[in-house]
Point group: C2
Chain length 654, copies 2
């Protein structure tokens, strides 16, 4: 029976005509296939398309009239012209309610986040007016809520004040607009050049760690506002911050501030907890920051607690965004810093926005076009930088509220934007008496959601290296600074990629009893090795970065395995079968490595046999004439074929 199986399943499998033939009598003959060779230009075209246009964006433009192409192009840049045509009142009801909800959440958050960037509160409100409007026309996510976010605000604040330490100066503000402009240019460039895949190089694990670290850093910074401390360190690392807090304990804390701050923090956390327990009550958590602001402002106004040392917002400028086009540094000594900060902030903002976009798109099964999204973000921030905004992106917390409040399209962002506009025009002076302590509570309650303990536990369970990356970024942020944490996150992500391509896995295969299936003997202890043969699977494409390692690893398997078999009184290994199924590609260094492997095996009087090389590998083996060296009759379709051809000696060994 077993013999019959292999007869049936195996077949003769060589490519081209060769010197020797085995098993000509087998009923089914399958040669190792060779892909039809494409002309060079097609080959290049194919790989360019797969790299940069893997989402096939021009598919829809095929076979269309010019006017239709124009319309499709317009819809492609401004998706609102596509979904807007099917917009109806029913959808608007959802968008209106969710828009109002996120507006009530974003206004207090904005005023608070502006502080993280060392900017006056109105700049964050300006950002929440212009950016969502632009995004609504160009973006492809239906659930994202656009505006200033905590992490990017902190990153900007840190990097900007590294360059210009006095953040009261006009120079500082100009640098902020400059950085915003170049953040937009970076984002747009990535989208237009279709380099969106670059943001995939920041690994999920590193982002989790970075976000958690940034959240804790931000929360600790809020102790200043929450405790009413006047002299506070400008550094963001946990050691400096805690030292500031405790050195101010005896005379620097203000009990009135603490009462207000802690009371509202408890209120916010309780509402958050309620919303978490009962998903239907999500709006309780969503409006609680606004309620906190209203109550505390009124309270301070009545009691004039600001005269007792309770710090208040004091001044928010009224009116719509002024132009800031002339404020951007296009030359001078700050240009370089503006570009650098812009690129970093732009990339981080993009990573956050794309992560949010993808999460919600997966939940509703629609798709986000990464490159188009970047163009939208870029345009939004460029226009923002000309209208007194700073870097905007998608906010995790507000997007979740938006989704739960039943938003249908980006119209909810328009509704929010209009509410913010009305706020700017009419009621900003009312925020004068809002105590900073409440803003601090709002920030703390918001950023704690960025600490994703479950994700960290999953990282620990699934992949220890991912966990390490996560912890590296986390501790980098909290013990040094956001920049260092980000650098560590990127470095670890790259190290992981490099490790992956330098040290691929190899496995010794054995035959599962009663089948012609060969599997890793470590994973399947029942699998038995074949006498006189060693079967090794190489689990990676063979490139310059790993070719030498693979060659030496195979020879080491051979040496170790032979020593062990000879010690057990078994016969020596005569055939080395390399299972090539997972080897999807090989480059010239890989070819060289196989040449060297072949020579080494010849010196040791062993034969090299290849099983199931893929289409590209077969083509390259031929092009380099390595097939002639190894012998075409040594290349088989499956391991089973190779074994049944050469393995007449019989007895299997464990």
């Amino acid at each position: 029976m077993s013999q019959r199986v292999s007869d049936e399943a195996v077949g003769e499998i060589r490519s081209g005509s060769s010197s020797r033939r085995h098993g000509d009598t087998l009923p089914h003959i399958h040669k190792v296939g060779v892909l039809p060779k494409l002309p060079l230009i097609q080959e290049i075209k194919h790989s360019v398309i797969e790299t940069f246009f893997s989402d096939n964006p021009f598919e829809q433009f095929k076979n269309q009239t010019w006017s239709r192409k124009f319309l499709l192009g317009l819809q492609s840049v401004f998706p609102i012209f596509e979904w807007g045509r099917h917009y109806d009142l029913n959808k608007f009801r959802g968008d209106f309610i969710s828009g109002l909800t996120i507006a009530s959440l974003c206004i207090p958050q904005d005023i608070a986040y502006a502080k993280l960037a060392n900017l006056d509160p109105q700049y964050a409100l300006y950002t929440s007016f212009v950016a969502p409007l632009v995004y609504a026309f160009m973006g492809s996510s239906r659930d994202i809520a656009i505006g200033p976010v905590a992490v990017v605000s902190l990153l900007l604040g840190t990097m900007l004040s590294n360059e210009i330490s006095d953040y009261k100066t006009h120079e500082y503000l100009r640098l902020a607009f400059t950085a915003t402009f170049f953040a937009g240019v970076t984002q747009m460039a990535l989208g237009v050049l279709r380099l969106g895949f670059l943001i995939d190089f920041l690994s999920h694990a590193a982002i989790v760690g970075f976000m958690a670290g940034a959240a804790i850093t931000i929360a600790l910074q809020q102790l200043k506002g929450l405790l009413g401390i006047k002299n506070f360190t400008k550094k963001t690392d946990v050691v400096s911050v805690m030292r500031s807090v405790f050195s101010a304990a005896h005379h620097g804390w203000n009990w009135q501030t603490i009462v207000i701050g802690v009371a509202f923090l408890v209120f916010l956390l309780v509402t958050k907890h309620i919303a978490k327990k009962n998903k239907k009550l999500f709006w309780v958590a969503a409006i609680s920051p606004m309620i906190s602001v209203i109550i505390s402002t009124f309270f301070v106004y009545i009691t004039r607690a600001d005269k007792k040392g309770v710090a208040i917002v004091r001044h928010v400028k009224k009116g719509v965004n002024p132009s800031s086009a002339s404020e951007i540094f296009f030359s001078g000594k700050h240009l370089g810093a503006g570009v650098r900060i812009g690129v970093v902030a732009g990339m981080v903002a993009l990573t956050e926005a794309v992560a949010i976009g993808r999460t919600f798109a997966a939940m509703r099964d629609y798709s986000i076009d990464g490159n188009k999204e970047m163009v939208a973000m870029g345009t939004m921030n460029i226009i923002g930088s000309l209208t007194s905004c700073y870097v905007a992106t998608g906010s995790f917390s507000r997007s979740a509220v938006n989704y739960m409040a039943g938003c249908k399209t980006a119209v909810s962002n328009i509704v929010m934007s209009i509410v913010v506009l009305l706020t700017l025009l009419l009621i900003t002076p009312l925020f004068k008496y809002t105590p900073n302590a409440v803003l601090a509570s709002i920030i703390i309650a918001a950023v704690l959601g960025l600490v994703n303990i479950e994700a960290v536990i999953l990282l620990w369970k699934v992949d220890k290296f991912d966990f390490l990356a996560c912890m590296g970024a986390f501790f980098g942020v909290i013990f040094k600074s956001v920049e260092i944490g980000l650098l560590i996150a990127v470095a670890i992500s790259f190290a992981k990629i490099l490790l992956q391509v330098t040290r691929p896995r190899t496995a010794v295969l054995g035959k599962l009893p009663g089948t012609t299936i060969f599997r890793n003997v470590q994973q399947y202890p029942k699998a038995t090795q074949i006498n006189g043969m060693l079967i090794i699977r190489v689990d990676s494409a063979i490139y310059f970065s790993n070719s030498n390692y693979i060659k030496e690893r195979i020879l080491r398997w051979l040496t170790d395995e032979e020593a062990q078999r000879v010690a057990s009184g078994l016969s020596r290994i005569e055939y080395l079968i390399v299972e090539m199924s997972p080897v999807t590609d090989i480059d010239t260094s890989g070819i060289h490595a196989f040449e060297e492997l072949y020579k080494s095996l010849q010196k040791r009087e062993k034969q090299l046999i290849l099983a199931n090389p893929g289409p590209i590998v077969v083509e390259k083996l031929h092009a380099s004439q390595l097939t002639n060296l190894i012998g075409e009759d040594k290349i088989f379709l499956t391991v089973a074929d190779a074994v049944s051809t050469f393995g007449s000696k019989g007895a299997a060994v464990v």
Copy 2:
């Protein structure tokens, strides 16, 4: 028959106990295996070992007495104590002859190469005395010939004079020693920290291009000496050099120089050609540079051609290496430049040495320990920097001559070193009248061997991207500078790695008629797809850098394939089988991608089935509880199993 095959070959294959069972009556049951889970510390230990100690260097130290361990340690650092014990007169005969041969080749080359580094000739001779001695004690290659080489000399010359443009100054010399010191430190650090694999990141293709570009740059530079031009550009790019040559054509060329230079160049090229045609006459090419130097020096001394404008060496300092320990910059403004130049030169030198070492080791089937080799190189250059040497490494041309002259061990380097010492002590003043034109001819003849046309043709044939990398480095060197060329080479190498990990291949599989083997339908046009099923193989580990692409690519395959089938009147796809054999690893981002894929498929009412996940993937699927989501009964040992379980509908489609 076919049914029987699948019955036999397939079997039931699930992991753990699950809700539903298929095919309980099948005769052989193989579950998808789970590797025994290692404790964390073991797991980390295993991957650290595989990354840094993949050559298992401590194997031999196991179960030895302390004195034996010491001896083994000594032999491990100084391999000469190992092979020296079996050294005999027969081996010495080979080493003596080859040592003399490479000495006769290295002395004229040294004097010429020193010019490339803008140093006086004696420094290259010093280098050829000390470096080979140190290497002979510590190195593990038997064939490499150590000393100054053309490319590293040019690289040093360019980088050093970018920092200190006046190379007549003592500062320049000190910077050269400083760079040499840090080149040694870099090499040693890479070896001690077992980071030797880092040099594998410079791809073979990029090196071929870089070497060819450097060779042509060097050859063009020699037109100065060959044509006797006085005012020559300091730039190395081909445009500046050719402009210098032609602008000097009317009054700057010296015919006497040209006659000498061209005559000896022809002589050298003819002897090279003879040696190439008849391998036994290799020594003709090996001694021809020395003969050229002797004849031309004698000729100039007799005719006093130097008074007719023939440039001569003029001065070579007599005597053994002076100490240069106090010359190295350990502080001051040049320290940074010294470190930077040292790191770059050290890496390039190492790349060249390791490539040579591996090539000859493969030819004779012994093995080179990359990390140990780096420690040897590092020590050699550190000692060199203290004794007035500049960066030494293995020379391609001299190593080949060494091999062909029948060297047996590194003793040939000792012989060469002693000959160079005698030269320094006794006959250096005789080189006074050696015409620069002859040195130029020697350099041109030597570096032309670095242009490896055949390798370039092979690159073109085998891998177009490799060819592009090669050309990028080549044109970078000849049109800009060696540094830019090197930068391009590194950048292209990295781009290739990143491309590889971002855009892995996927393939649609079909069943080979009469077998249970599933193969790429593009490679095997006879393979038929199964009605109602789509089988996709993912050809890569799934990591954060590609997880999103893989998910979207699979969904795109599904959409396209379904549209095509429905258009052909076939039934819609109900099962998506993902063949996971090549997926050797998966990280948390990959797990997320599969979760999202599962959700998208659910929305489309299709089932997700996994076939043959590897041991690590199975472990992680369990750890993340993704198996519970997908269903353990949806995970199979082979594609054939999955098909025979769900594919009752029968008819195959093409």
